[in-house]
Each structure stands twice: as C-alpha cells, then as structure tokens.
Amino acid sequence: MNRRQFSVLGLIGGLAAAGFMPLSAGAQPLPDAIRMVIGSNAVSGDTYQNASIIAEALSAHLGIKVKVDAVGISEAFKAVGRDPRGTTVMFHHDQSYLSHLYGVRGFSDIFSAYKVGPVVSVNPGNAYLVPKQSPYQSVDDLLKAAADGTRIRVGIQAGGVSEIGYSALKNAARLAKPGSEANIVAVNSGSQADKNQQLFDGQVEVINGSVQANEQFTRLPDDDQKAMRFLWLTASREIIEEAPEAGFGQTSREQLLQYVTPAMRVTLDGQQDFVFDKDFFLLYNKDMPDEMVKAIDEALAAIYAKGDIQKTLKSSFFIPHFLPSQEAAAYLKTKDGNYRQVIEAIAAKN
C-alpha cells in the first residue's frame, strides 16, 4: 500500500469513526449510548413507533445516542437482565406483567425481577371487532347470546394485552349468568393478519384488533368479506377524550366514544366497568444505579414540560401519559392487582 492509499484509507476510517462517535454526554450519570430494546420484533407496531418518539426526544435532550432495537419480548427481557450498567433499557407495555399473570412460560414478575421506569404514553386503540354483518351490535348482545348457549369464539393473541379484554368479557358473562362464560372461548390466532383471516373465514365471531390496524376495514361496504365493525374499545372514556377531535382515519373521536364505557359497558364486578388502557413504559435492570433512573426521569419530565412531545404523540394517535419511575411502579402495580382479580376469578370457575 503506498502512502497516498494509506492516507485515503486513514481519512475514510477517521470519518467513519467520527460518524459513529456518540455525542458528548457531559457530566450526566448516563452512558453515551443507550440501546432501547423493545418487546416486539416488529417495527410496524405501536411499541416501535412509541419507542422511536421517546428515544428521539431523549437523544435530543440529553445529547446521547438512544437506539431502538426491535428484538422481541423474550430477547428484550434477557438483554436488559444482563446489563446493570444502564446501556440497555427496555421499552414495552402492559404485556410485561400480564403475561406473568397469565402464567406464560419465561415471564417473571417485573416488579421483583426488574426496576420499573417511567410510564410515557397510552395507546387508546385496543379494540374488539365483529364482521360488519354480525348480529352482535353491542357487548350486551354478545353476553346474551352466550347466556342463551351460543358459542362465541374470540380471536386473540394469547397471554397479554389481546387476552385481557377477552378475560373481561368472560368475567362479565360469568357475572351476568354464571356458567355462561364457558360459551365465550378463545382462539389463539396469533398475529393481527391471522386474526383478521379467521374473521374473514368465519372461524371466529369476534377478534381483538386496534383502531390503527382495523379502522379502514370498518369503512368497507357491508357486502365486502373484509368489512368489520368496532364493538368495544377497552380504553377509558377519559383517555379517548384526550385523543384529537378528528379521531383516527375517518373515525372521529365522537364516534370512538360510542365504543367505550359508559356507552359500551363490560362490568368488572357488577358495580364498576372494566377498562384497560395500554400503557407504554420503560423497564430497567434491577441493579441499574438509582442516579441513572433519576436522570432519565428528570430528562423526560423536562421533555414533557416543554410540551412538544405531546403533539408528536397525539399526531400518531397516542395519548401522552407521563409518570416518573416511582409513581409508575405504584400505578402499574395497582393495574397488576386489578387484572389479577379478573384472571383469577375466571380461573377459579374453570
């Protein structure tokens, strides 16, 4: 290699190194680069989208690199479990503790095995849908049919956010007429594509979906095999009220409010209604230093105080919901306790 080639190579190498060099992080306790693993291996989903918004905001605010990595839930738990230095954090949603409640293999109790970080947002779109020409116009119709002995098959992805609404339906059926919950059965369909396909095939009567993924199907003409109708959104009324007035796609906020309590009721215990807001939050290694936790809390508090991130989240149909780590842990622990009751009530009867 002659001197000229050597210089060119050196220059290229130097530029490449400079390109990969993280920005100076100053005197803060956080590392120069953080890998934010998400509990999903799809970059098309709401978890990746949410994580990207948060990562970008943290990067800009702290002057460090925050890279989102879609590795899937079990790999994400492993990665964060291996790294107490704070260079790997996990971004996920309620599935983290629901899967443990449902006894899915490989899921430990996040409250004892990890450190719960801040809650950042809610996806208000968790929905249950029926074919457009389905006889079921409301959840009540569904529960009545179950009480009359009709089998209602619900397409879900087992062990998480998709299943909790199904469990709530079963619980409501049990309260309406004990024993009728046996007529509401889950079909573990898997992905959203497979859930949709089962609805098209008439293999299930109801599917779990989302406003974001299924809204266009609700606008198809009645005679289209793919046409669907929202039956119930699990989000609370307060959360939907915070959504942009235009709603999502061509379904306005006003229309979406018809599918949440109190317009569409699924009782929790005969008194209160069941609601489920899908919260997104950070999870840390159990031994991650407290000053790092504090630094991320403070950074996010400043970002939310500034107000820009709320606009970004809302434009993507997410509801901003910031709780610093300690409050987040208490809030999620309460949710964990509430949903444990629902799951145990059904399990006790089966």
Partner: protein, 505 residues
C-alpha cells in the same frame, strides 16, 4: 398527495442509493434485505414521505437481488431467499461460468421484479381479495407443495426425504411460540440450553454454518492446492453469457415469476418458500434436461431468481391492499408508513393515489438500477474466484463468524450455532446425506407446523385439508402431480445410472 409532489431528483437519487446499499447487504452473508431496511429505517425519519419510501424500496429490491452474488460465487446464500440459487449457481461457477451464472440471475431477477410490478399495479385490490381465500389450510398445502422438492432434490429419494425430515425435526427445537398460536412450551431442548434455545436455532447462523463453514471444512480437508491455470479456468472458461440462454425459458420465467408474486401475496409464507417452490416446479416439469438440476442448470437459477424478485411486488399487494405485510421486509415498510403518518389498509390505494403511484415508480426505477449496478459491477465481483484459496477461505470464515454474531445484535450463541452446523454439514457430506433437502426442511418446517396446527384448531378435523375449498383440491392435484413426476424422474435417473454402469462393465 399528488404524485408529482412526491417525485424529485432526490427521489430517484435515493432509490439508486438504496438499491446500491441493499445489494451490498444482500451480498454479505448474514446481512439481509430485512436488516437493510430495519437499519436504515431511522434515517428516513427526517426525510419526506416520497424520499423516505424511495430509499426503503430501493433497499428492498437491492437486498433481495444482492443475495445471488455469494450464492453463485461462494455457495453461501446471501439471503434465505437465494438458497435455491446455490443449487445450480455454484456448480456453474465451479466450472468457470460464474459470470454467466450471475448475468442469468440478474436478468431473471429483473424479469421477476418487473412481472410482479405489473401485477401489483394492475391487479392489487382484486388479488388481495383472492389472497384472503387462502386460510391456514391452503397455506399449509402450499408449504406441502414446496416440500415435494425434498424427494426430488436428494441424490436418492430416500436420502432426500430423510435429510428433509431431519431438517424439519431440527427446526422444531425450542418454544412453539405463543405469538404463533402455540402453547409456549419448550421442547427438544436439554435443560442447560433452555436460555439459548428458547427460540430455537436462528435461521441465518444455521444457513451460514451449513453452506459457508461446511464448504471451508471440505476444502480444508482436501488441502489447498491450486495453480494459476485452475484460477484462470474458473474465471474465464466455460460458456460466455448470451441472451439466447433465455430461449425456451419463457414458461419457466413466467411460471416462476408468477409463483414468486403469488407466494408474496400470501402473508407469512416468505421468500425462501417462493424460490424453493419455483425451483421444484421447474425441476419437476423440465423435460429437456431433468438430470442437469443441481449440477449447473441455468433453468434452476432462472427459476429461483425470478421467483425471489417476483416476491417483491407480490409482498406489497397485501401490504397496500390489506395493511398486512407479505414478508418480513414489508413488515418494516409498514413501520415507515406509520412513522410518516400514513395508515395502510384496504382503502390505502384509493385514499392515496399519489403515494401509490410513487411506490410503483420507485419499484420500477429500483429494478432498473439493480440491473445497471449489478451488471456494471459483475466483472470485479466475479473475480472473487480468482482470490487464492489460502486467502479466500479465512475471509469466508471471518465473514461467517461476523455474520452470525451480528444477526441478533451480538449473541455469541449464534456463532456457536454456526460452528456446530458447519461441522454438522461436514458430517452430512461425509455420510452422503443431502444438504439441500435438510435446509429446505429446516426453513419450511416451522411454517408447516404452524399452519397445520392452526388448521386443526380452527376446523377440528383432518378431512378439512381435502374439503376446505376448490383451491385446496387444486393444490392436492399439484402436489400429487409433483410427487408422481419426482418419482418418475428418480426412477428414470436410476435406470440410466444402471445402464451406464452396465455399459462400463
């Protein structure tokens, strides 16, 4: 949004840049089109909708196309969808026709890409409606049809079937994922390996091991002996490329491109199944040179490459007409749409005609760029066979290790997997079993299981596989025809071998 508002010089520049980077990703074993799109997705955050999509679609087309380069020259599929290209591409390269094999692959890729693009543009919504007629039952039968290749691809029917079933068995290691409708239980894994094998063996380390490392071990076993004459032979001898190689290949090109487009249309089946299916159909129904497959038949490369590029347009059909990705790479494209504030679904094309047209233009331009770039670069790329083996083999080994390590962002177990399967591949070679059916069984096994189980869960009876629909019945006819033809070919081959042996005696 008007299409003219989305198209600019930067739009075409980014398609070209994406295609070049994509080819680079596709050509390096261990890096895939999916990775190219995933890695570059954050770069598009700051771009506009048109330019962002242009870049990602360039990456997609380039990534799928680049896989043929190492498949032909090194016998290592650059991406899983170029596996069937190795079957005939590498034997051609070994007899001095590497450049010719690459050019055949590039032209076939262009044909497949353009074919699927025309289908996408003209028939996307009605085809999406047709795609939803394919439930779990029909998808299982398509996988079964691809699996009929197992018997035909081996050196003998029994060894082919045995190797294929062994591949399927190995693919079942790990958890039957709850997200795939499974029960979440772990199986076939000793307790001390549960942490690592929870998700089974990763596909790419296995492929790199059995193709890359095995080849290195076999070469090492024979000793590195070569002379300048051999190298010269490898690069320059053999037939030169002529477009006339495509004479008589129209049926193959059309059928394979249609298979690729069609498999892309069905979410969840994937690019490797497309090229394997097209290859198996060409091998089964080729009457001119049935014995040439696996020994360097241009028809094999044409089938595989036109099918895997046919997939690109096909996989966009359910994406843009149902909001459902047709393969892993288009799943990432949904992310790009979402980040740009556009929701794909059954009304996407009607609601966004400008974006739709920009996508078609980007795909068309990406295919043209792919051909130009690859044809231009082919001569220097093909010279890789000129690199002395004492240099090439360590480089391949290093690429294998680095490729395996990077797949899941630095999991050392993937490197051990690659090494173990490299040794396993060498054992298969020594035992005179067949590697190709093993790999096909390994790739298609999980999909076959998922669709078989889901079919039974949904319909509750085995007879549903025969009675579900006219499509299922048609698929059974194709499966039977494929098996019958495979048996006939195997018998004819054995008869010829016996006669040749008798004549020699």
């Amino acid at each position: 949004m008007d299409v003219l508002a989305l198209i600019s010089p930067a739009f075409f520049g980014l398609v070209a840049a994406g295609t070049v980077i994509g080819i680079f990703f596709g050509a390096i074993p261990g890096l895939t089109a999916t990775m190219a799109v995933a890695v570059c997705l954050p770069l598009t955050y700051s771009m506009g909708l048109g330019t962002g999509l242009a870049f990602l679609l360039g990456l997609y087309v380039g990534g799928i196309s680049g896989g043929l380069v190492p498949a032909v020259l090194l016998n290592i599929p650059g991406t899983p969808s170029s596996i069937a290209t190795t079957f005939d591409g590498y034997p051609m390269a070994r007899r001095g026709e590497g450049e010719r094999a690459l050019k055949i692959g590039i032209c076939a890729s262009l044909f497949g890409g353009l074919f699927s693009l025309v289908v996408l543009y003209l028939f996307a919504p009605p085809l999406a409606d047709f795609a939803i007629k394919f439930s779990f039952v029909e998808k299982f039968l398509i996988i079964l049809l691809a699996l009929t290749l197992l018997a035909a691809l081996g050196s003998g029917m029994l060894t082919g079937l045995f190797s294929g079933v062994l591949g399927m068995f190995v693919s079942l290691v790990g958890v039957y994922d709850i997200n795939n409708g499974g029960n979440g239980d772990i199986r076939l894994v000793p307790g001390f390996l549960e942490t690592w094998l929870e998700s089974g063996f990763s596909l790419l380390p296995v492929l790199i091991g059995v193709f890359g490392l095995t080849a290195v071990l076999i070469e090492a076993e024979h000793g590195v002996r070569e002379d300048a004459a051999t190298k010269k032979l490898l690069l320059a001898s053999g037939k030169p490329f002529r477009l006339s190689v495509f004479r008589g290949q129209w049926v193959n090109l059309l059928r394979s491109s249609a298979i690729g487009t069609f498999v892309g249309l069905l979410p969840g089946i994937g690019g490797s199944a497309a090229s394997i299916l097209a290859y198996s159909q060409e091998k089964t129904f080729n009457r001119k040179e049935p014995d040439a497959f696996g020994k360097g038949a241009p028809s094999g490369i044409i089938a595989s490459e036109s099918a895997n590029n046919g997939l690109t347009g096909g996989a966009l059909i359910p994406l843009l007409s149902l909001g459902i990705p047709g393969d892993a790479t288009t799943a990432i494209l949904i992310g790009a749409f979402t980040l740009q504030g556009i929701q794909v679904g059954p009304l996407f094309i009607g609601d966004n005609p400008g974006v739709w047209q920009a996508i078609v233009i980007a795909m068309l331009f990406a295919n043209l760029c792919m051909v130009l770039v690859m044809l231009f670069a082919i001569r220097p790329i093909a010279r890789v066979v000129m690199v002395p083996k004492y240099l090439l083999l360590p480089i391949i080994l290093m690429m294998c290790v680095v490729g395996a390590y990077t797949i899941n962002s630095g999991v050392m177990f993937d490197v051990w997997t690659m090494l173990a399967f490299g040794v396993f591949g060498w054992l298969i070679y020594k035992l005179r079993l067949d590697m190709a059916p093993f790999v096909i069984g390994f790739i298609l096994g999980p999909s076959a299981e998922v669709y078989f189980v889901k079919s039974l869960e949904s319909f509750g009876t085995l007879t549903i596989f025969f009675t579900k629909s006219w499509i299922a019945m048609l698929l059974w006819v194709l499966i039977l025809a494929s098996v019958t033809a495979s048996v006939a070919i195997a018998r004819a081959g054995a008869r010829r071998a016996r006669m040749a042996a008798a004549a020699e005696a």
